[in-house]
Each structure stands twice: as C-alpha cells, then as structure tokens.
Symmetry: C2
Amino acid sequence: MMAYVKEFADYPPEISQQQQDFAVGQLKNYALSVGFTVKPFAVQTDDGPKLPEGAVPAPITLYPSLFPKSCFEEALDIQQSYNTLYANITRDTAWLEDIVPQLAKIDDFVENLWNIHLQLKDGGYTQPLTLGLFRSDYMVHLDKTPGSKPQIRQVEFNTIASSFGGLSTRAAQIHRYLLTNNIYPSTSSSALSPDALAPSDAAAGLAHGLANGHKAYLSHTKPTMEDTCILFIVQPSERNIFDQQHIENELVNTHSIPVFRSTLATVLTQTHLTDTSVLIYTHPSTQRKYEVTLLYYRAGYAPTEYTSPADWTARLTLERSRAIKCPTVLLQLAGMKKVQQVLALPDSPHLQRFLPNADTERLRNTFALMYPLDSTPSGKEGQAIALNEATAKGYVLKPQREGGGNNIYRSDIPAFLKERPESEWGAYVLMQMIEPPAQRNTIVRMTAAKEGQGVVGVVETGGVICELGIYGTCLFSMAGQTAGAVQSNEVAGYLLRTKGDTSSEGGVAAGFGALDSVCLVGDDALGAGS
Amino acid sequence: MMAYVKEFADYPPEISQQQQDFAVGQLKNYALSVGFTVKPFAVQTDDGPKLPEGAVPAPITLYPSLFPKSCFEEALDIQQSYNTLYANITRDTAWLEDIVPQLAKIDDFVENLWNIHLQLKDGGYTQPLTLGLFRSDYMVHLDKTPGSKPQIRQVEFNTIASSFGGLSTRAAQIHRYLLTNNIYPSTSSSALSPDALAPSDAAAGLAHGLANGHKAYLSHTKPTMEDTCILFIVQPSERNIFDQQHIENELVNTHSIPVFRSTLATVLTQTHLTDTSVLIYTHPSTQRKYEVTLLYYRAGYAPTEYTSPADWTARLTLERSRAIKCPTVLLQLAGMKKVQQVLALPDSPHLQRFLPNADTERLRNTFALMYPLDSTPSGKEGQAIALNEATAKGYVLKPQREGGGNNIYRSDIPAFLKERPESEWGAYVLMQMIEPPAQRNTIVRMTAAKEGQGVVGVVETGGVICELGIYGTCLFSMAGQTAGAVQSNEVAGYLLRTKGDTSSEGGVAAGFGALDSVCLVGDDALGAGS
C-alpha cells in the first residue's frame, strides 16, 4: 500500500470486513437518530417523480480525515475579514458596474440578475440591510518544495445557498460518538483523540445569523403587522431537506421565529407586496398572514432553476420587497468567479481597497493564481500560460458562466483553446491547480437499488482529498458610510467534504462526495511518505 | 358529530384535506430530523428477513391529546412512592416466596425465572445493588356519577424493558414545534397553548438512571479492569432501535459511558465470568475487553424470546454476574399482574407494609379493583362478580401468564369461565374496567406497501383513548436494613400513548397505537358533551 501520509501511516487503521460492517452499522444508526439524513431517491409514480417516505443517511466518511491544525485555524481566523470583504464589494455598486456587464455579455444568467439590479437601482430598493450567509471553500495546498508548509488555497467563495451547515454539525458529532464509544478498532492511530476532533456549530451559527437579520428587521425596519416570519426560498423536491430543517428547527425552537418555505414557482401566489413594498405571506394551509422579515434563498443560484420568465418576475418582485434578502442579487453576483479572479490578480489593488485596515496579506495568501483570458494585459499573460503545455499543466480552465459546463484540466487546456475562436476565450478563467495531499478513508453512502424503491448501502475505501468550508454570517447596510456599515459579522462553523482522489486507482467512485469532519494534525503529518 | 368533550368541543379543529396534508408533511420532516423514527418493515432476502436501510417516522398523533392537569400532576407526584414500593417488594424475597410459586405452577415462564432465583438464593447473588427503570401506566377513569372528578387508574406497572422513553421526549417536541411554528390552523382551540404542553425528559432521565447504576458500580463494587461499559440486552432485528439509540446517545455523549448491545442468543459468546463473577465483555469487532457494570434489559420479558434452554442459561449466567442488573429476575417478577392484584385487594395490608411512611392512600386511589379467581375468600368474591352478567360487565378478565393470550371483556366473561373447569380459573385475574373519556385525534403512521420494499403513509381521524406512562428510576440495595436501602429515586419523564377507541365506529384502525403528548386541561373538560 502506498503511504499517503508521512506521520500516522497507520491512519485510518486497516480493519477486517467484520469490523467495518460493525462500525458502518453503528454509524448508520447514530446518523439516523440525529437526523444526519437525506430523502431517499425519487421514484416514479402516476403523478410523476415523488420522494418516498422516510430518510436515509447522508454520505459520510467512516473516519474523520486528517487536516493540518494550522490551516484549519487560519481559515477560521480570517473568515470575518472575508465576510467584510464581500460586504464591501457588494456595497460598491460602482465597482461591480465595471465588472458585471462584461460578463453579462457572455452569460444570460448574469445578465438577468444584473437587469434586476438595473431596474431597482434608481429608487427601487426599499431595504438597506443585506444578510450574507457565506461559505469560503479551501483545499490544502502542499508545495513539492522540501520544507514547505501546508497552506490553504481558496477554491471559491459562496454568497448564496451555502449548504450542508445543518449536516456538518452532525457529521462531527458522528465521528466523536464513534470515537467516544470505542467503535473504532483499539489499534486506531494516535492521531485520533477527542482533542483532535473539532465540533462544528454551523446549524446553530447559521440560524443565529438568520435570527440577527430577523431581529434587525423588527428593530430597524419596523414591521407593520404583528405576525412576522422568515421565508425560505427552496427548490421543489429537495432531497437535502433535512440540512435545511436543522436550521429551521433552531430558528423555531431556539429563537421562536416562524419559518415557512416557498419555491420560485409558487412564491408569487403565496405573497403580495403592499403599497410600501412590505412583503406579505399568506400561509397556503392556515391562511394566516405574516410580514416577511427575511428571504433566505436555498434556491435560485443555478440558471436551470429559472424555467420561465415568471421565475425571473418572482425574483424581481422579491428583490423589490422590503424584506431583508439573504442574498440580494448584488451579493449573489459578488460571488462570481470573475470577482475572485479580479481580486487574485498579482498586484491587484482591489483587496487593499475593500479591506484597508484588515488582514489583506493573510487573505492574499489564500488566493490561487487566477488569470482572465481576454485581451487585457493580464489576459494575454493568462493566454501565454494556457497555450503552453509545460505551464498549462499546473492550471485548470474554468468556465465563467454559472452552471456553464465542465472544467478543463492541465495538459488538455492548450488543445481545448485552439479548437475555439479567440473571441470565446474570455468566457474562461485560468486558475492555478491546488495540489491537496491525498490520504485514505472509507466512504459510506446510499445508492438507488436496481429494482423497486429501495436503497442499498455502498462502502468504498481508497485515496481521498478534502475540501474545507468555513461558514460566516454578515449583516450589513448598503446605505451610508463604510464605517459602521457592517452590523454583525460572525464565524459560523465549518464543513469538511471529501471525495475520491481521481488520480488514485479504484477505491472510491469518482464524483461521489461525502461529508466529513477534521482530525487535526501537525504541519508535517500530510504529504506522501516514502 | 358526537361531542367528545364538554369544553373545547372544537378540539382538535376540523381541517381541510389540504391543511391536513400540509401539517402531516411538516410533522414527518420534523420527526425525521430529530430521530423520532423506527426501522422500516423487514423485507425478505435470500438471507432471510432483513431490516431495510433508512428510517421512517414512528406513529404519532397530529395533535397533543387533552389530558386533565390534576391527573397528570398526581401521576408524576406519586412516582417516587411507586419506585420505593417496588424496590421494597423486590427486597422482600420472603413475601415473593409466598406469591410467586403459586403462579409458577401455571406459568412455565414464571417458573423458569423463579428457578433462576432459587439457584442463586444461597450465596449465588454477587451484586447487592439492583436498578429499576420503571413505567407506571394509567388511564383516566371518569365515573358516570354527576360531579365526579377524573382520576388516574393504574393499568400496569412495568419493571422490565419500559420502552418509548427516547421517542416520548421527541413526541412532545414535535407537538411543540407544530404549535410554535403555527402549523396548526389559526382557528385552533384555546386549549392549545405553549403552557399547556408538557415536555418529557424521559430520554435524559432514563439515561441518568442508568448512569447512576454505572457510577454506583464504580464506587461501591470497584471494577477490576480499567475499561468498563454498560451492556444493553436487546432483541434481534429490533424495529424500535432508535428509541434505544437515544438513551445510548445520552450515555455516550453526556455521561461518556461506552454502551454495547448483545442478544440472549449471542451474549454468552461475547462475555465470560471470572472466578469472582466479574462479567467481562469482549467486543466482537474491536476485541477490546470491558468489565460490564450494568446489564440493561430491553429484551427477555416475553416467553417467546427464550427459544432454547441456552437462552435460559444465558439469563442465569448474567444473573449470577457481579454486574448490576436492570432488572434482576426478582424485580422482573415483582412486575407480575399477580402482585398488582394482591396489592389492590380491598383491605390489603401489603401496601401499608411496603410503604409505611409514604403516600399509601394516594397510591391506593390509583388501583382498579382486582380479584383472583381462586378458592381463597377473595377468589370466591371475584368468581361471584365474574359469573354474574350484570356485575361482570364492569370488568375485564386478564390471563396471569405473561404473553398468555387475549383479555376477555365484560359480558363475555361468564360464558368464557363456564366453558372451562374451575381448576383453570386461578390462571386469570379479574380487573375493574377503566372508563377513559374518549376524544378525537388524527393518527399518522406508516404501513408496509403492498408491493416492493416501500412504506406508505396512513392518516386516520376518529375517537381515541389515551394511556399515560410515568417513568421512574430507582437504585436500591437488596442487603441490609430497609432504611437507606434506596440509593437514588427519581421521576424520569412521561409517555402518552393513544389508540383507536374501539367503541367508536370507523376512524382509527383498532390495534394501532401512536405516541402522543399531553395538552393539559381542567378537570371538567373531558367527558361526553351534550
């Protein structure tokens, strides 16, 4: 067996089939008892596809993956600066007006979002406050130079529908339970100890952020009705419903805030705007009316979700309302890859501009090199790297369009570009590859049974790589001076997601990610051993 | 519609099909998110019946049922006296020696349990401490006399495997969530308010009782090994596994006590006794060894569970061990209907004997009249009542044998007895019928789909009756003086179970019970309205 890690080469321990069966059985029962679940796969019925009764465990690793403690702490430490950065980008509509229209030309989806802003910018906005529930995603980058330390590199920064917070809290609980109850073989590596496992308070943290938004509406906007609620905008037939339910449960049980759900397709039949743009929600079952304080989007982030002009009308109507949006179209647009690329340009002045007094250098250290491929000087630099096989092999080509197709990797890039006219190159961003250290783990997941409605469990062991997400919540005002614009700014737990290392042979099926939690180790633990 | 209740005739409110569908959908998602679940029905596979992956909601009422507050509080108030009563009965082996052998003659199961005691009574017991996790079950009795107040009447007192504590905590949470989040129609009766809903801390309370037993072993018995654990004795292929899992989770996460499971069939291969009767458990997966501090039986209460002499050998071996038993065979036998009947005899001196300084009268008020049907003077009195149709109609005939067949009700009793020789009558107990007030509710449950492995949801509305269970935990010593013998004595939450009122037409299918929680009302609320 290839040694994936330098220290803790025995991690995770080799176990027999019987030991694995036992541990997986315990894991599943615990997962189901704490709602670490998703809906089973949809089945065909006479009324169309339908989600079956019940729930099955969400995919998860059997062991917490090793993660450098220094990287984990750095990611947590800089989250509030990232929150501020994206609040300030969103507030600077003049700056966005320089960036977004270029992209709107090549991306209908961006154009539609931007058009909503254009229709509202002259007096159409009625709510100065914006709520961000963010997730900054990183991989650990391990340079091949001897003696280099592992560092976090940002994969993307999510400004809409940052998911898995409800489940991530429970993923960490599952691993802690398995450790505390001695389910792991007693030969388990010394890496595994209670102190090395980090809990994630994402479910409570995200709910706290939403409750902050709700309370700000009550105190600043002043509701016109006695009954108020938070409205989740969700996708129809969502399998990941329990992830959202955990956030709802915190809001209802801990904060005593009613929570309801609607979709882009139904929201206009269930709500209306008053003359003063107050958003009134009429509950379709009880007919009780509520003033919506906060719209929390767990939908509307993918072009495919807008299936008709009516869906865009719904988005525009909601954006026009007095409810606080999490997020607004502007905050959603601030999460484009193009913004990430502009910030990451070598010698970019933008980071300093948006974060004059904060951790500019620490944030910059998390950036991977990114280039446009347009006719600007940086774009020409990017083109030169992309067209040369020797340099291209350290990069990935990403479409700028949201939902715009697959990434092109390494030496495939030059040929891919040469097959296309240069006028289309501007639709891509060139990003330096992050080289995360691989390690071994076992992924437990459900798959649809071949016949009938059931699901069957699958357990796969092999090389995996991890992606860390840090949640942050930020309530900020679009109006007034920058000083004081950010009204609350908090770190809200973490997510670890793990997937098969496609460069390794066999083992974990490609494309199937699993939730995970961190087992913190020193800087020297990871990286291929000899 | 017949008015079931005098006050709150609008409870629960009539709702449209659409309203019900919405509320049931919300209920199921919340239930699944907090582990208010059971395993789906077993399916046939090539390896025999198997429980499918995943979980489905346990059966539950849509609304909390109305329950007289005075009855609820009285049941909670007297639980500690009931705990003491059954501890003192169990301690008085001489008294049990008067009662049990009579029953052992007609009941193999009682005989087998009693034989274990006989084999151990002369020096075979190695652990003076016994733990009881009790549940005292009541119905509200409403006399037809005008002006009479509702009173609790005891149905039975459970001394082994008192179940549903883990789920009852969540049943109360579900109803509170539905109320807090305004899922019930806003026309809902004034009976429904946050203050009227009582939470149940049974999951934490039962775990606390088990942790008390574990700690007593550590401090009094002194373990010989460093690793210790609690061992649950469970049934194979248990569908109600999450009810147990919630108690295990509290023990592991809150009390940091490892918990493992075994069955009567497997326990002897996984454990052994040392020379000093210490029970050592070798984990079948990790091979790690633990000294068992406490055996918690969630199995072994039904005759059908002992499928071979080996199962009895297992029970004897465990009983001989130094582990604290929850319960011992003696405590299990103290829960026989016969003991309940002897205590309930008019002018019985036994209650006073076991509870000289406590709530004797309050406990006596909870007793339904019970008679033996043997040749004793009380037995002759019972026979006279049972053979007369006019008096028999207020009674139910219950087999004394555990798992010994169905109850015979009211006017069916005289003919049933006359068909049998008088020598067999002693195998039955005659118990006064409890006349609980009926009310309406809606029960949400899953049933096996006709084809395939799936389950389908069923929702039924109709007349229902409720049974209240109060959990108690009691750690006591079999040795020494009565004073000081009880080392801990606590109330541990409640269970409300609700089933179709078979005297009403249609509606809720007979035999299908559901979990429920209380909506507390005044003494005058219940009883048929005009």
